[in-house]
């Protein structure tokens, strides 16, 4: 429902050429319960369902400026769109060498994650089943390492503090993008980029809707 949010919708219509790829046959594609457009949907956290959907922000030549795995809330998608537009200007800056462009890309990615709002971080905590999956892997880059940015979790809401040893997804995506400066879409390693959390899950939206009738009637977007 993010794409139908008026602000996102207008940005897509006026500033982007939009395209779509069904990834059902891709090796990295995950699995989830079936959802039809005539059934209830659910608002979830940023980065939820990383293997089921990916949003790429590309230069006209196919260079990947940003890749957002899974669901993203409208405010946060807009924030990342603005960032990608700024990166695109660097990509086209004729006064910078390739090495300078790469350095700017990496620095900007690592700086941007520190500038995210608290609200964005709170919308970006891992879902419980994804966090539990990551906790089994001591090598996961979702664990904070020495020298890495760590937000003040004591300021966050209770849900976000539930797994304080794990990064939020808004941080993870910028760290992973920083390792892929100005890569063309054809060479972008989607499988590794979206590799976190469980491969199969089901949030049972339909059951929740039909069972309790508990939904936000005022909400127009997912």
């Amino acid at each position: 429902m993010t794409l139908s949010d008026n602000r996102v919708f207008q940005a897509l219509r006026s500033e982007f050429v939009c395209g779509f790829k069904n990834i059902a046959e891709e090796s990295y594609c995950g699995r989830s319960g079936d959802h039809n457009p005539n059934e209830a949907a659910i608002w979830t956290t940023n980065g939820a369902g990383p293997r089921n959907t990916q949003l790429f922000l590309l230069d006209a030549d196919g260079t990947v400026l940003e890749c957002l795995p899974g669901f993203w809330a409208p405010d946060d998608l807009l924030c990342e769109i603005g960032f990608a537009k700024a990166l695109d200007k660097v990509w086209h800056d004729g006064n910078r060498s390739p090495a300078q462009k790469t350095a700017a890309f990496v620095s900007a990615q690592l700086l941007h994650l520190k500038a995210h709002s608290q609200a964005m971080m709170e919308r970006s905590h891992l879902q419980g089943f994804d966090a539990q999956e990551e906790e089994k892997n001591a090598q996961s880059d979702l664990f904070y390492r020495d020298g890495e940015f760590k937000p003040a979790f004591d300021l966050m809401n209770n849900v976000s503090r539930k797994y304080p040893e794990l990064k939020t997804v808004d941080q993870l995506v910028h760290e992973r993008m920083a390792k892929r400066p100005f890569v063309n879409y054809d060479q972008f390693d989607v499988a590794a980029y979206v590799d976190y959390g469980k491969r199969r899950y089901d949030k049972h939206e339909v059951d929740r809707f039909e069972g309790k009738g508990k939904f936000d009637k005022t909400t127009k977007t997912k």
Partner: protein, 85 residues
Amino acid sequence: MRRISLIALAFALVSAGLLYAKDRKASAMPKQESLVAPEAVQASVTKVTTTIKWYDDLEAAKAEAKRTGRMIFWMHALGELTGTT
């Protein structure tokens, strides 16, 4: 000196992204885990799939982006576009 200019550039890039989002009138963010009624989902799907032209060929999208001076929003999804909101 070069390092300072790199930091300044990175800062400018970050600021640009934040300002882009801020410039757009904020709407109330729904609560996580809140459900959306089927009618609203269907309306959303219709809006997104009928008003925006969606390319399924990246090369064609790139040609159009170059022609119009725009960037590309390229979405991967499990399933068809009509199931995307």
